[in-house]
């Protein structure tokens, strides 16, 4: 398992910014509805600002859109495991990888919730 990195409770959404995601994995025409658990892996660089923001934002997204806990999330700190990150093809951090097909790589602090939902194919699944 990856290195455990803490989430701070009461996470605040950071200011909205662009989402950077590799294109070939986005398919907004096929919303996630398979009922399978989603495996996510977030690569961060210790407590660097963008990494902390990415962790907060991802936690908030998971709480809002996957309230039943139908996901597995692993946090990998590249400062602790740089070789593993390189083996996984990680170029920069923070980078979120959706491991379950269809795969997606999302680069940035995940503040663009809509874009992240599209990439993770969680459109229309918000549970209030």
């Amino acid at each position: 398992m990856g290195h455990a990195t803490h989430f701070e409770p009461g996470s605040n959404r950071t200011e909205r910014s662009e989402l950077f995601v590799t294109n070939e994995t986005i398919n907004v025409d096929r919303p996630n509805g398979t009922g399978k658990r989603i495996a996510l892996r977030l690569y961060v660089a210790g407590n660097a600002p963008n990494s902390v923001r990415a962790m907060r934002n991802l936690k908030a997204i998971c709480d809002d859109y996957l309230p039943d806990g139908d996901y597995d999330l692993e946090i990998v700190d590249v400062l602790e495991e740089p070789r593993r990150a390189l083996r996984d093809g990680i170029l920069v951090t923070p980078m979120l990888v959706k491991l379950t097909p269809p795969r997606a790589w999302i680069i940035g602090d995940l503040s663009d919730t809509h874009g992240v939902l599209q990439a993770l194919r969680l459109n229309g699944q918000q549970h209030e």
């Binding site: 600002p49 740089p82 269809p102």
Partner: protein, 430 residues
């Protein structure tokens, strides 16, 4: 971004990612490589976009397998920039940054104050624009040489015109900042206002000329007065001879000989003190120049009971120098030695060729009391003199002139049991 990429990635395989191709997809090896390449490019493109937006914390370096923490790099950069800004803004020296045409891209407050122009006004000017017209060509040529890579730095003294019209002297040091491949990037100039120093320096030169003239006054009186008295005596004798109807030609010949001697003395002194303007440097045989100075003072040495010995190494290489300045240096050293031996002694003057570095060494070795050890470190300082009537600028100016010729001058006491001083001047071979 990329809907066309979706089309290029085979179904199944494209959704599964590079390291987990879908089980049903069997692309041809060529297509697989292309889609893999496209994925990598897309990922790289996304990473670059995030980087530009400031959403990246670290970059993984595949060579060293270590993450590069951008915040630390940025902080280091910011700290470096902060240090530079502090130096730039608070420096007492005028600092300017210049493009390849010499325009002042940025000028610090000290530069603005020194020249009287605002940063914006400076931005429309080059260093050449600020220099006096007669000084421009030298600076411009050096700057061009630096831009094309023939030199990395140059240092000159030049006159600039303050916005208010006053002329200021600056010591200007300009250095090039280059790209990794050596191409000119920009130049940094540092200007120090040396107007006051130049004024003091010019006053010192005038003072030294006056002092040297004063020290020579007694010698002049002796050298000129004696033959004049002899000539007058001979003229009187000739008058008497003529009155008595005798041949006066013998007395007139002696009078003429003495007057010619006086003329020679005046002529040589005129040469020695002809310093109205700095002379062009020329190749000079130091042996000949030294012999001139020594010959002129030979009689004075004899009168003072100083035995003068001269030993010039044959065939010393000619040295490129300002002969007038060099005569003044050697005369100053000689007079210093004589003043150190009021009751007589020995003065030994030599020249010798040096190999490493190539040049000529001139030594003045006297048998006076020597220089007290506590005084020795200060003798080249301006206004430092142990004599009541000394101006304290002779050795200071001697060192200045020697250094301007690329040489050096030093003084030391003769080793025990001897006493006396050895002053050595070394000048480089051109």
């Amino acid at each position: 971004m990329g809907s066309n990429m979706n089309k290029s990635v085979p179904p199944g395989e494209g959704q599964g990612g590079a390291e987990a191709p879908g089980p049903s997809a069997q692309p041809t090896p060529g297509a697989h490589q292309v889609s893999e390449l496209i994925r990598q490019l897309a990922k790289t493109e996304a990473a670059l976009a995030a980087l530009l937006k400031g959403q990246v914390d670290a970059i993984l370096d595949p060579v060293s397998s270590t993450p590069i923490i951008l915040r630390e790099a940025q902080n280091a950069l910011l700290a470096s920039e902060g240090r530079f800004r502090a130096i730039f803004c608070q420096a007492a020296l005028g600092i300017g940054l210049h493009d390849a045409e010499g325009h002042i891209i940025d000028g610090n407050p000290a530069l603005q104050s020194m020249l009287g122009y605002t940063a914006e006004e400076l931005g429309r000017r080059t260093l050449g624009d600020l220099a006096l017209p007669e000084d421009r060509s030298v600076e411009a040529a050096l700057f061009r040489e630096m831009v094309v890579g023939q030199r990395d730095v140059y240092r000159i003294e030049q006159r600039c015109r303050h916005k208010g019209g006053a002329i200021i002297w600056v010591q200007l040091t300009v250095s090039a900042v280059r790209e990794g491949n050596g191409a000119f990037r920009f130049a940094v100039s540092m200007l120090q206002d040396i107007t006051r120093q130049r004024q003091v320096q010019e006053a010192l030169v005038r003072s030294e000329q006056l002092a040297a003239t004063g020290r020579m006054a007694a010698y002049l009186a002796h050298e000129i007065n004696n033959p004049l008295q002899a000539s007058l005596g001979c003229v009187e004798l000739a008058r008497e001879a003529c009155g008595e109807g005798e041949d006066a030609s013998q007395f007139l010949d002696i009078a003429a000989q003495e007057l010619r001697r006086t003329a020679r003395v005046v002529s040589r002194l005129r040469d020695l003190y002809n310093q109205a303007a700095p002379q062009a440097r020329e190749r000079v045989d130091l042996n000949v120049l030294l012999e001139d100075v020594l010959t002129l003072n030979l009689e004075r040495c004899q009168l003072q009971g100083v035995e003068l010995s001269w030993q010039g190494e044959p065939h010393v290489p000619p040295i490129l120098l300002d002969a007038d300045q060099m005569r003044q240096i050697f005369l100053s050293l000689l007079l210093n030695a004589l003043e150190a031996m009021p009751d007589g002694g020995c003065l030994h003057v030599t020249t010798a060729r040096t190999e490493r570095p190539a040049g000529v060494r001139v030594c003045f070795e006297d048998s006076g009391p020597g220089i007290p050890e506590e005084v020795l470190p200060h003798i080249f300082e301006p206004f430092y003199s142990t004599r009541a009537d000394g101006a304290g600028v002779g050795l200071f100016l001697s060192r200045k002139f020697v250094r301007e010729h690329g040489g050096h001058i030093e003084a030391q006491n003769r080793p025990a049991p001897y006493h006396g001083t050895i002053v050595t001047v070394w000048l480089p071979e051109p």
